[in-house]
Symmetry: C2
Subunit: 646 residues, 2 copies
């Protein structure tokens, strides 16, 4: 596929945008007119710049409110059109986007509109320029792709074709299955954008909340597959109007945009494969199964099978290493071993592995200097680490090579978009995880029953505006899927939270964005420097026993207000003894259908991250969002208390 | 009036909220249950705290999904109700807000709902507690105040009354004129909130975009007048769900909230006065003109008549003073005089007066140290400066007393919400402005024709989240009215702009909020420290002549891209010579009906603020928003160029 992006999708001046687009290896670009109007050079300068960068100028846009006009107004349109065709000749743009009229006084007459489109196409054709007509979802009379197509068909001019846009098509409750039946050669251009499903007017959603495909909730993959089935062979082009992207770093947006297009292409492959299965033996008029596709789609290594989090690595110095080791021991962890050549300790409990890295001059050390004691890497247990890294690289993630001592294992790893490291490791035939070979293992020690046996979820805090990019990264690279957005109320601001997880729930990451600077989430991590792990939830099969053990070993537990338990008593029919025990042990409760959830929190380690212990019963599949406000209120209280006692 | 606020309207912990509410001199408070649930003490601690602070606990809220239930579900509601009545007894809250059921499976049966409300009122009454029933605008079956009233009337229990909320009433397209006909003693409580008119679902608007009365577009004054006409004598209570306020400084929100309630009360007086005029000689069933009102409304000094901006004061040091003086002279200003005792110069052109304050150890000096060369004060010409200050003080603005030398005038002034000074001054019988007596005036000098004669508008940049408070301040204190919001695209982010002005257009302030940190607006002022004047537009009667003069004197004019003029040629039927002259002089153009607008910009002074010259023809009444993107793109280009040349 040729890959393109509209300049409106990125922040910056037009030259900055073009450079970033080229650096992210797009083939082409749509020039959004206001970007050109504000550029202090001439259209030919942009033509030259794009050529130097190896970018094709695919399209010039938008030309508005052009059809369905009275005679005088249409004369003014033709005057305006000629001026813009002059510009396009100088720019070297072969195609103009003409969008359906949105003026309230547009004339509702398909014959008139088609005639005017034809007259315009005649003018454009005389210059060797083509026009693509696009239905805006809020067009006064023309708001659907099929209505736009009827006008194009009726106008019947070789220089007039259709432009399809996934947002305008998918945002309306309008059947789009007919797209595959369109004649592909009459589709002149295809724009892609995703969006969340928000309960607001389509115009507002489009202008401010579009997002990159894979970040929202529209079926962009299905739409694109239909377009290709129709026989379209032109570029796929991102056109994103999004408030956050308008002020986001230009190069990062371009990189994310490329990852998004690659993700769409893979989705198309999946839709095709599904269609092949369903159509087995069924005759289809236009089938991807019978007609060879005429474009090449991105074909990355398939996702490795994710079996869980193999280990979490903490960047520490010596003091923090000792302190965190003490905290972990109180939680029931044992020291499993020490690294052969580095100042790194391994702690474990059940299947949970924590690496405490205090090695000087290491990547972890740099991370420690920037962020303090914090999680600097996460390792996944997968069936094929090399395939996992290959896939990540195919999606534009740089491979990471750490320092490796003689006879030590080089863990395949990448840098995630926030700068953190992600490793891939696998379980060997003897049940051990391969990274453990680098550790001189301690002898067992008195094995007490484990308080917890696996990592349930790892909650992260991201800087404002970074959620969409993180969702796309996890979705494309790790094949995780996002869960619904929830909004949590901290005493000092709202926290938007969206978890991303695999189908088998082996890996769950609630990703949080704090809207204020004083929320407990924002205070606990360096949100201005990068993403940060906020808490790690450990799953236990008996939270009450575990809580008693934690009391005995002196782990500082987050105190939960008594009012919370009065409210629980009002909302749920809970046994009085159980409620009394929960009150004593600071255990919170949630219910979902027949599922029940019990959770408790430790107090933050150095005010930065904390641990959670959870017990899931009866298929409970959430994270206790109903209790998050209580946790944040209790945590902010703790901060106040901390200040009081110095 | 008793004045109250719901704790959900503010950020912080419950004790912080109560302290801020008391400090802003509210009489009472609504306790929002989650605030109490997250508080690590008991309800009685809050009762004691409120009593110590002199606050009445007016209401406990919300109690949800209580009516229209099947028998088993209603039994659970009664169980929940009893627990919450226990809590309210301990809290000392006399009234509970019960809001209409929003569950999809609520039963649509007024008789059942009324019966269940009556049963609940019976339980509450046994404890001496009253229930207020409120229709949520998105209630499944009950969504309007009159429907809620029919249920309350039908339930017919002395402990059950109606709660009215301006948001739920005004956000729907539902006739609310019947409010005045309700029996006032059956209205148990009144909540006030405003909102912008945004094209989104009412639920989303309510949860995230409510604002303080006077900040939005709902007729809260008319609503409140109707409530009082009905005979309601209870508190007016703010209930604001707003994302920005959830992370805003608690005390500032409380102060703004009080100002908002005072503004509403004055609006009620105005509605009453208008009704008195209209009802002169007309018999009304319930008339404010015949029935004495039973509550006292806030009665501030009436607004002074605003005749324009008398002067703008710049904080400078000696170097900046000389540099700015040079810039002003090139613009056509003359030095009019020097302050009798301070290091302060006065410059003027036409009716425009600029004060350049380099006095050490002054307020201006502190401002200079914080913000660099910048506008530190604005003085208004009014008919009665003391009344203007008296009104501002009544609305909670602290009076400012500067250092005054012997025989010098003490200008009445206040501190605005951003910390800037606002002075009030008046024109004397001889035509001079009174503040000029403090200056030793220079002899005239060669008077050339003025390039500009008055200040057209002063554009300011506010920190994110501060727009609503600024709108309310200007509306309440200075009797200005907001114009519609426009969204402008800077290459590095969106800029939301809302102008506020007086009816006679003597004073116009476009207020801007930049969503990114790199927009030209955000870069030019210290948005993290406080508000800042971004540019000052001077009105001229012949911009072309003025532009030629500026060329001659060497003022650096913002260069406008040639592409802009090509676009003008496409959009408007402009004379070619005119267009060529505009291109040469960097003059921008806009049209609105028959009105025309010509404008040009100077390059920023020390990268911070700049001047604009404007010519309005034929009643043009805007600010050239269509050109703002071009100005911002050109300005960002300038920044890049500045960097290149060092």
């Amino acid at each position: 596929m040729r890959r393109s992006i509209a300049t409106v999708s990125l922040s910056g001046t037009l030259p900055e945008k073009l450079e970033a687009i080229a650096a992210a290896r797009f083939d082409g670009v749509e020039i959004f007119e206001p970007d050109l109007t504000g550029f202090p050079g001439r259209p030919r300068d942009i033509r030259d710049m794009a050529a130097d960068l190896g970018l094709t100028i695919e399209l010039f846009q938008p030309f508005r409110n052009a059809e369905g006009l009275g005679p005088a107004a249409f004369q003014r349109t033709l005057h305006r059109l000629e001026r813009k065709l002059d510009l396009m000749e100088e720019l070297g743009a072969p195609l103009m986007l003409v969008c359906s009229n949105v003026e309230p006084d547009a004339i509702d007459d398909d014959g008139l509109a088609a005639e005017q489109l034809r007259a315009m196409a005649e003018r454009a054709g005389a210059r060797g320029i083509r026009l693509g007509y696009e239905a805006l979802a809020w067009g006064t009379h023309v708001s659907t792709f099929d209505h736009a197509w009827r006008l194009v068909e009726r106008a019947d001019h070789p220089h007039l074709g259709l432009i399809l846009d996934s947002f305008h098509t998918l945002a309306l409750p309008h059947d789009w299955s007919g797209i595959a039946d369109l004649p592909g050669e009459r589709i002149f251009f295809v724009q892609l954008a995703d969006a969340p499903r928000l309960d607001m007017a389509t115009l507002m959603l489009s202008r401010h909340h579009r997002c990159l495909p894979g970040q929202g909730e529209l079926n962009v993959g299905g739409f694109t597959e239909a377009v290709l089935r129709a026989g379209y062979t032109g570029p796929l082009s991102l056109e994103i109007f999004n408030d956050a992207l308008r002020s986001a770093p230009t190069r990062q947006t371009a990189k994310d945009g490329m990852r998004s297009l690659l993700h769409v292409e893979e989705q198309v492959r999946r839709v095709e494969a599904a269609r092949r299965i369903l159509s087995d033996g069924v005759a289809e008029t236009k089938s991807i199964a019978t007609a060879p596709r005429r474009v090449e789609l991105f074909d990355p290594p398939t996702p490795a099978r994710l079996d869980g989090v193999a280990f979490v690595e903490f960047a520490v110095n010596h003091a923090a290493q000792a302190k965190l080791a003490d905290e972990l021991k109180r939680l029931g962890f044992r020291r499993l071993g020490r690294h052969r050549s580095k100042d790194v300790d391994l702690y474990g409990m059940g299947d949970i592995r924590f690496v405490l890295n205090a090695e000087p001059h290491s990547t972890a050390h740099s991370y420690y200097l920037l962020h303090g004691a914090s999680v600097c890497a996460i390792a996944y247990e997968v069936d094929d680490p090399l395939r996992a890294v290959g896939r990540a690289e195919a999606f534009g993630c740089p491979r990471f090579e750490g320092r490796v001592g003689p006879n030590e294992l080089s863990l395949p790893g990448i840098r995630s978009i926030g700068g953190e490291l992600v490793y891939f490791t696998r379980r060997r035939a003897d049940g051990s995880i391969d990274f453990e070979t680098d550790f001189l293992l301690d002898d067992g020690g008195a094995a007490q029953p484990d308080a917890a046996h696996r990592i349930d979820h790892i909650a992260q805090v991201l800087p404002e505006g970074a959620l969409d990019a993180a969702i796309l990264f996890h979705r494309a690279v790790l094949d995780l899927e996002p869960e619904p957005v929830v909004v949590l109320a901290d005493p000092f601001g709202l926290v938007r939270s969206r978890a991303i997880s695999d189908q088998r729930r082996r890996v769950r990451f609630p990703l949080n964005i704090a809207s204020g600077r004083n929320t407990s989430a924002a205070r606990s991590v360096s949100t201005y420097l990068g993403a940060g792990v906020h808490h790690i939830a450990l799953e236990t099969s008996d939270l009450f026993a575990a809580a008693e053990r934690l009391r005995a070993t002196g782990v500082a537990i987050l105190p939960i207000p008594a009012n919370y338990y009065d409210d629980l008593a009002a909302r749920f029919d809970l046994d009085e003894d159980l409620l009394a025990t929960m009150t004593r042990l600071n255990i919170l409760y949630d219910r979902q259908g027949d599922g029940e959830f019990f959770q408790l929190y430790t107090q933050p380690f150095e005010g930065r991250f904390f641990f959670e212990l959870v017990e899931r019963r009866g298929g409970y599949d959430q994270y206790g969002a109903a209790n998050a406000s209580i946790r944040m209120a209790a945590s902010s209280q703790l901060g106040a208390h901390d200040t009081l006692v110095g």
